[in-house]
Amino acid sequence: MIQQVWLVPVLPLVGFLINGLFRNFLPKSLVGIIGSGTVLISFILSLLIFGEVRHEGFQPVVVNLFDFISVDKLHISFAFQVDQLSTLFLLIITGVGFLIHLYSTSYMHEEDGPQYARYFAYLNLFVFSMLLLVLGANFVILFIGWEGVGLCSYLLIGYWFKNVDYGYAARKAFIMNRIGDVGFLIAMFLMITKFGSVDFADVFGKAGSVSTGAITAITLLLFVGATGKSAQIPLYTWLPDAMAGPTPVSALIHAATMVTAGIYMIARSHVLYDLAPLTQNVVAVIGLATALLAATIALKQNDIKKVLAYSTVSQLGYMFLGLGVGAYDGAVFHVLTHAFFKALLFLGAGSVIHAMGGEQDMRKMGGLSKKMAITHATFLIGCIAIAGIPPFSGFFSKDEILAAAYGKNPVYYVIGVFTALLTAFYMFRLYAMTFRGHFRGTHEQEHHLHESPAAITIPLVVLAVLAATAGFLGIPPVFAADAHWLGKYLAPVLGEAAHGPELEKGIEGMLMVVSVVLAAIGVVVAWARFSKKPDLAEPTGFGKILANKWYVDEFYNAIIVRPLDLLAQFLVFFDKNIIDGIVNGVGRLVQYTSRQLRLLQSGQVGGYVLLMVVGILVLFLVELFTKH
């Protein structure tokens, strides 16, 4: 089965080709079946592969498909690597991907045929690229997938391209990603010069023989790539704007899968990161800062999707904190649980937006729990999971990261747990404003309110079950010794020491109690403040700064966009006046001189003869006064 792993990415590619090429002819029902069906088959194949991989003692298999690049001593083959880590990501991508495809068949039903098929074609292309990213056995294949998902992200954010702002949002995402990609590319070139190869096996095998400086440079540059793709400071601002895309896209690309590519890449190259303590500190600090910054912004957002977007940025920050303190399996665990509960929250938000007829402003919602029972229940589960209340999944993964952070540096823990408090607060603010209290929208909207159809609620229920229970895959040693299934499963790839620093059981238990109590306080305060009479006034003072996202976009505009703009204007001026002036000047000079020379050609034979005589005389004189 493992030798046929190429089928997993190829199936969505086939779906993309069919839906993309025949979008004008296929009926919408068939488009939906092809789009979701190919991903479903990929999911089943992934399950079969997982069945083989999960046995203890499984050795990673590299499936060589063909030689991709062969230059001098550098050989890059198009190869897939099947091991515990890539299989786990296969399951997340195809599993959550299938649910979101299913959801989309209903969510996007108002689009007309060709647009509907275009949407599914992009979505399938995304799944293909993402699978390529996690399956690649070297950094080049990973990078192909990396670029592919960036492209699909751009295409899907700008799916409603008739809205100019959405087009700008798409461009912003693409350009920000491109900045990160430059770092990734340079890192690969460095690898080729230092290791002579980009294969995971070669690079990680030879990592010990290279100077720490080189490893630090490579890891930092890889991290630059990760900050772009996974929306970390300083390149995070594209993700909230990416909410311009359809909601299922936000769930799949900008919450569950693509944005975790940076975490996957760093976990995959953890051998390098272990050798570069400086980079680890940078990763941890950037992750923590992003988590805190995004959480504070989320406190004051009123757009339901924007809150979730900042929450995603914040949770990604947690994952990088985990990576930075060496808790690689904790970070991957959080990727897994986050994929479930954040996809659930986005899809739930999509269901709400659907019922509200496109309204995204939470100030106009309220009291939806009565009308939308399933959406409400599943959304509540998602909120509890992200807030970190046991025994839901977010609690386990978040506490694993926080415990490891405490082991590395208690300051990390304090900031992390404060962020967890903010997370619980803003998530329940979102929940209370949307589902509690009285409806604040128009009469028509109130009349229109309805529970969504089965194609929307089924994915919600499945994800809710997963979000509630996935935590038991990684039970910490405090509760039961040796019960951390995920840690044991990933140990062959991430190493035995992938949990980060070990803590005493008493301290770890205490840390958990602290974070759960703080999360509970956040939940209760938010519930009390926002369920009955939410504060709808425009924020003032510090709240206004938060509502305006710390003015980071404005800051970037002032220090990067404006100077670049001015430089561009200067260059345009330079081009139009100086470069064009030289070019046109040469032309004008030739024209002018030839107009003057033309006068010599008078047609008068006498004139010609005179010139001839003068010429001969000049030659004579030259002859006379030189040489002799």
């Binding site: 050609q601 008078s602 047609g603 008068q604 034979v605 006498g606 003869v609 005179l610 005589v613």
Partner: protein, 109 residues
């Protein structure tokens, strides 16, 4: 007679010919001036040939003979040229009723 005299005479004739070509507008006079230049050259050739022969004739009987051969060539060619040229001038007069060369400035176009 010293060779210098011949050279001065030839140069004077040649310059008169050039001046005539440059300044006169009548095609026939221009023609005559061209003949003048040709004959100035002929005179030079003959003079140098004679000088040559006087210097080397005792050892090499044929010294300087090629200069005189050239002169005959030039005279023959000039005669042919005159016949063609005069024919051109006649045709020109028939077409334009003028033999003023300044009138013929169509080469411009």
């Amino acid at each position: 007679m010293p060779i210098n005299n011949y050279i001065f005479l030839a140069v004077a004739l040649f310059c008169i010919g050039v001046a005539g070509v440059l300044t006169r507008r009548n095609a026939i006079i221009i023609f005559m001036c061209i003949e003048l230049m040709l004959n100035a050259v002929n005179l030079l050739l003959v003079a140098f040939s004679k000088m040559h022969h006087l210097a080397l004739g005792k050892t090499v009987p044929t010294a300087g003979i090629d200069g005189q051969l050239f002169v005959f060539f030039i005279m023959v060619v000039a005669a042919a040229e005159v016949s063609v040229g005069l024919a051109v001038i006649v045709m020109m007069y028939r077409n334009t009723h003028s033999i003023d060369v300044n009138f013929l400035n169509r080469l411009k176009h």
